[in-house]
Symmetry: C2
Subunit: 232 residues, 2 copies
């Protein structure tokens, strides 16, 4: 039995609490960060608060092993005086949307091997995919996630804008969007680039630029140039 | 029974030919564009050749109704003297990869109502999703597809680069990529933007820029600015 305390009240804290409630061999407690005056003891304390609050909240925790769940913060953001670690789940959590923890990559870090093993055991009570990731690597994963999640979603949004401006239902793009994402399971994206940029089809590129607004043109040009640079 | 002739030998021609072979009430023939001297007659002639070859190939066809399959070409690219139309499938076709035509949007256009009905009947022998799309709308769909397919794949490639440079397996990003694509089935991308750009989290943005190369920085900056413009 591992005793776990979650501090926080956001999407990560809520989904994680629900998952641990159903897990075997976990004794789970959850408190809001404003109730930090009275902290239950636990083998693992998980601080799932906003990045800016991690230092202040962790400084008030006297439990033996304290971890945060942030992709953007290093292990040393934690200011507790005991052992430290990171329990970062690489997925976007939405309120009310069910989470399949078996598919989520757990990126774990700890300052000693025993603590790492403990985190690994904890992750495996709810998940399947566990990775040993350093603070330096996690920083890189976090920025890569911005490209494949935040920026990709913005490209979808531009697709939606173009459709709506031309009385085309956005649903028409959805099979292509799904296919583009599914394809990378079998072919690496660097080996599956298609379209006018990689073909250097200047006529089509010119036609496309003519029907875009200035901001869309700027994005189109910079991504086309970046795709063509891979040919060098 | 509809008689159909496909001219072409690429991925679209090949996949379409296989699908029509299995369809009910279709008499299908296929020739390569270089065999254009001896053209079988057919109720619908589908020219599935590269964009640049559509005009020259169509000029040699005397059948009553000729269509092309290009997203980037207008109906008037066809130079046959009889009726014209477009039979554009909005999906990326790869050699050797099975195609599920029931999920593919068929974007159809014809110069008269009877021809349109004929194309619609043809599409429904192999597909389910049929859209009446003008040449002007198809141009817009084609550029939107570049954003959600070609450019999105390039963002995946940047994610892959960042992972590989830091000894992180690219598979770690795949659940997030799938989730990002699946999410738009239920929430419009303009309503589901997350991340440092939309939060105006300047500290994280600065940290991210510091660990990117110049080209990645330029892409990061322009997409961040475009996301933040949606707040205005």
């Amino acid at each position: 039995m591992i005793s776990v305390l979650i501090i926080g009240n956001g999407n990560v804290a809520t989904h994680l609490y629900k998952a641990f409630l159903k897990a075997d061999n976990i004794k789970i407690t959850k408190i809001k960060s404003r109730n930090i005056v009275d902290i239950p003891s636990a083998a693992i304390t998980i601080i799932a608060v906003s990045d800016d609050a991690i230092a202040a909240v962790s400084a008030k925790v006297n439990n033996s092993f304290v971890v945060h769940t942030s992709g953007a913060s290093s292990l040393n953001t934690l200011k507790n005086k005991s052992n430290k670690g990171v329990f970062y789940m690489l997925q976007s959590f939405s309120k009310g949307k069910k989470v399949d923890f078996s598919k989520i990559p757990f990126c774990l870090e700890a300052t000693n091997e025993n603590d790492y093993k403990l985190l690994e055991n904890l992750a495996k009570t709810i998940g399947k995919k566990v990775y040993h990731i350093s603070s330096e690597q996690r920083k890189k994963i976090h920025v890569a996630a911005v490209f494949v999640n935040n920026f990709t979603n913005h490209l979808y949004k531009i697709g939606q804008d173009i459709c709506e401006e031309n009385q085309i239902p956005f649903e028409i793009l959805q099979p292509l969007i799904q296919e583009t994402a599914v394809k990378i399971k079998t072919v690496a994206p660097k080996n599956s680039q298609t379209g006018p940029a990689i073909r250097k089809d200047e006529k089509t590129i010119k036609n496309h630029l003519e029907i875009l607004n200035t901001q869309q043109q700027d994005i189109y040009k910079i991504l086309t140039a970046s795709i063509q640079d891979t040919l060098k």
